[in-house]
């Protein structure tokens, strides 16, 4: 698979979580790449508060989520 296609797959997973209201709350990086923790606040009482972890492999996706985090932090300021 081309590296661009790998990036698109990973990006899609991140975008889908964002669409569901998740944001990245933690990043851990090691020899195997990056592990992103996604969380979202409860929308109503029945909603379960979930943490989801994504393992990111490609360099382009690691740039991509970094841009998202910076944008996220700018929004909060």
């Amino acid at each position: 698979m081309s590296s661009y296609a790998e990036f698109l797959e990973e990006k899609k997973k991140i975008d889908e979580l964002y669409e569901k209201g998740y944001t990245i709350t933690a990043v851990r990086e090691d020899l195997s790449g990056a592990y992103l923790t996604f969380e979202r606040s409860k929308l109503d009482l029945n909603d379960i508060e979930e943490k989801i972890e994504l393992h990111i492999l490609t360099a382009d996706t690691r740039k991509y989520f970094s841009n998202l985090i910076i944008a996220q932090q700018k929004e909060l300021i």
Binding site: S41, S66, Q73
Partner: protein, 422 residues
């Protein structure tokens, strides 16, 4: 006509092109002919206790038919008595009062030795001194040259001793045979240097003859490490000049040298902070007359840019030279092939396929013609294909808009912060 005059740390010269301390400045005869040819200054072949040289002392590195891409030497400092040099310096300065005559000096790292030579040489009217802390061979074995130039404390001390006796500006010439040249440049500044110059030659062995198994050059069958210079060392020299120029603690003028062969090379050094330019190998390869092109080229360049004097050029690119962590990770270029000029040699395809990111496809058009196309989405913009392509204009690196800038430093800061779940 732009004003090419320079005032380098108080040393005035009609132009910034000076001959470096080396064989071209060995004698009054040579330096005077060089001034007549148009050189603005000369750093006299290093003075010190006269040495003995070996015969067979230079070697050239030739590459693919191009002669002298690099130059290697195992020559030492002057082999002539001080008085002979001083007489010729005096005569040269008398004939050319407006040209810069700088005396390069090297003695043992002892206060009285520095005082003695500085005073003797000063009396004949030199415009400045250049302390040679850079020669990597022969002298280093005797505790001089790069041996003392690699130790910041010795650089500082010797600069201080020279400054104690000097009434004219003192330039400290640094060795590149050190991991971080700013350490010794800073030591020179601490010692009171009025300026620094770089680079002297880089430790080298030019080659080994694969038939005789002797070194190149060899002296009766044996070799010793030499010093490398010429076009091949330019990127190393330019980086060292730039690293010093962008270091706020090295706040003295820089005389740049190492591989300068044309006015364009000189402009690059000046943009990166060099206030004067020294040349050795190019003069040894082509003779003194190369300075005519250098002067004309610089003049035309300044006129074209609408810059009135050399001073308007010096250091203009320094702020563009930074640490890797400040570079924009979002900046993106991709390779684009112009099939109108491409000669289908496939070099770019091979380079990308074997050693980069496998994104140049070999395709066939409807009418059966082979052509190459870059899959831009997979191209990382490494530039390799455009570097190996033999045809000008066949590959251009095109910038692709890619959002707001994000440096590595910003990214690391952002991902380590606790991230709120809003």
């Amino acid at each position: 006509m732009a004003d090419l005059r320079v005032n380098f740390a108080g040393i005035k010269a009609p132009n910034p092109f000076w001959l470096a301390s080396a064989p071209p400045t060995n004698s009054g005869y040579q330096v005077q002919r060089a001034f007549e040819a148009g050189w603005g200054g000369a750093v006299w072949k290093t003075l010190g206790e006269p040495i003995l040289n070996v015969s067979s002392r230079f070697a050239g590195t030739h590459f693919n038919g191009q002669r002298v891409v690099g130059f290697n030497n195992i020559e030492l400092i002057t082999d002539r008595p001080l008085e002979v040099n001083l007489q010729e310096i005096y005569e040269t300065k008398k004939k050319f009062p407006n040209h810069a005559v700088i005396a390069s000096l090297m003695v043992e790292p002892k206060q009285e030795k520095w005082h003695e030579i500085v005073k003797k040489v000063q009396d004949v009217g030199v415009d400045g001194f250049e302390l040679n802390f850079g020669c990597p061979h022969g002298m280093a074995e005797r505790g001089m040259g790069s041996a003392s130039g690699q130790v910041p404390e010795l650089v500082e001390k010797q600069t201080y001793w020279a400054k104690e006796a000097a009434k004219v500006p003192v330039i400290v010439k640094l060795t590149p045979n050190i991991t971080d040249i700013t350490a010794t440049a800073y030591a020179a500044v601490q010692g009171g240097a009025d300026a620094v110059s770089m680079i002297n030659t880089i430790n080298s062995l030019a080659g080994v003859d694969i038939d005789t198994w002797k070194t190149i050059p060899n002296v009766a069958g044996k070799g010793a490490h030499g010093g490398y210079c010429g076009p091949a060392v330019k990127p190393i020299a330019l980086n060292m000049v730039a690293e010093c120029a962008r270091n706020p603690e090295i706040n003295v003028p820089i005389s740049g040298m190492g591989g300068v062969s044309t006015w364009k090379d000189a402009v690059e050094f000046m943009l990166m902070g060099a206030g004067s330019i020294q040349v050795c190998t190019a003069a040894m390869h082509h003779g003194f007359s190369i300075v005519e092109d250098m002067v004309d080229g610089l003049n035309n360049y300044l006129d074209d840019k609408g810059i009135e004097s050399v001073a308007g050029l010096i250091g203009q690119s320094v702020e563009k030279y930074s640490d890797w962590g400040h570079l924009d990770l979002n900046y993106k270029v991709v390779a684009r092939i112009n099939n109108d000029v491409c000669i289908n040699c496939n070099k770019c395809h091979i380079a990308c396929e074997d050693t980069s990111h496998q994104c140049i496809d070999m395709l066939t058009s409807e009418n059966g013609n082979a052509y190459l196309e870059v899959r831009e989405e997979d191209c990382v913009g490494c530039n390799l294909c455009s570097i190996v392509c033999p045809v000008d204009g066949a590959i251009s690196m095109v910038e692709i808009p890619n959002g707001e800038p994000m440096t590595w430093n910003q990214r690391q800061e952002a991902i380590k912060l606790p991230i709120c779940n809003s």
